[in-house]
Symmetry: C3
Subunit: 159 residues, 3 copies
């Protein structure tokens, strides 16, 4: 096994693969709330806190209807919750996986497989495709994370 | 203090304890949504997106009732949300804790204590035990994470 | 570029900055549910699971009204969900950012900027300030995480 110093170095192609895919997924995680903000501002609705229906610069014509659930906004919130159930798990399982010293090919397959599956899931969810399509994308994104977590566990158990 | 190279090595028993408990909790985190999927498919209900009540291979006899909250499914969703509030915190606090170079005994107590408390919480929640029982398990799972986070903070402050 | 051994050492001031700010935010993440617990116990309401409205030591006079949403409790839950959308992202982006070997000044600006913005967001949210104020705090907390994630991604792409 290599030393960890080598493992967490940008000279290690497995770590570079992680750094790139983790960076992409972190941006996705942090940008989804901006999609919610954009949608809330566009329809001036879907607010969640009572004080959000008060008159202010960003809400010049308030109404209590603004506090009702709005499907256009709620969809982005559900996408965000789905991200929360998946992306931190990917980032943490991926990091432990890097520390087990896997082959570059396996790391690329699992990490890029995850990124592609989540991109497809995003497109399916935001355009309201059939449940079957979204569920398939979600499943394909779940399996690489489960595999990396299992890999880390087995690596710890056999140490 | 040891070097970090030694700290993140599978030669370091504290890191091995982390790798094993983190691997278990990552699997728990990623498998809870599968319990939600299993329950949704079993009762063909508890869907959240309008398009999920359309006719498809996995939903041959759709109905708008499928979009109403279903307690059997919602329970698994609440368990998932509870995981999200706890497991990423454990994984990240545990990792920082490893880097502070703690004693093996303390690491084992805190990390295995967390795993056991979360397993008990899962059983109490999924079988709908009294609030008192679930709250006790939850408290016992919260304290080790708070301890490890405080330990990391103090370690940083005294550096 | 420094070696990673130096990067994850408490001799590295960038890592010390991360350890301290990450420790603070981990405590925040894990203490917000305790605010929800405190509020639930104070008003004996805002419970979420059917079994929570049963007679027990912590609920001597149960009522089905206890299962209705309670704004005082829900506010803390929304604050917790907001934490979940932000803090794990900060912790993970910050860690990758440390591994890119940034300047101390930039790390301090981004990490302490995040902590201060989240503290302001907490105060604005818990005291129900105008949406504009809370949104400004939230934006100021989102930008440092996006910056660190982008930094990590670019660092991986240029490796």
């Amino acid at each position: 096994m290599e030393t960890e110093m080598a493992m967490l170095s940008l000279d290690n192609p497995v770590f570079v693969t992680y750094m790139i895919t983790a960076g992409i997924m972190l941006l996705k995680l942090m940008l989804q709330p901006w999609m919610t903000v954009y949608r809330m501002m566009k329809v001036r609705a879907g607010f969640r806190s009572p004080e959000d229906a008060q008159k202010s610069l960003i809400n010049p014509t308030p109404s209590s209807d603004q506090l009702k659930p709005n499907e256009y906004v709620e969809r982005s919130r559900r996408m965000n919750l789905n991200d929360l159930e998946s992306i931190p798990g990917f980032l943490l399982a991926g990091f432990l996986f890097v520390l087990t010293g896997p082959s570059l090919l396996l790391a690329q397959l699992l990490m890029w497989g995850y990124v592609i599956a989540r991109a497809a899931h995003f497109m399916a969810y935001s355009t309201a495709q059939l449940h079957d399509i979204r569920a398939t994308c979600w499943t394909l994104s779940s399996l690489p994370v489960l595999a990396m977590a299992a890999y880390a566990l087995l690596s710890g158990l056999s140490a």
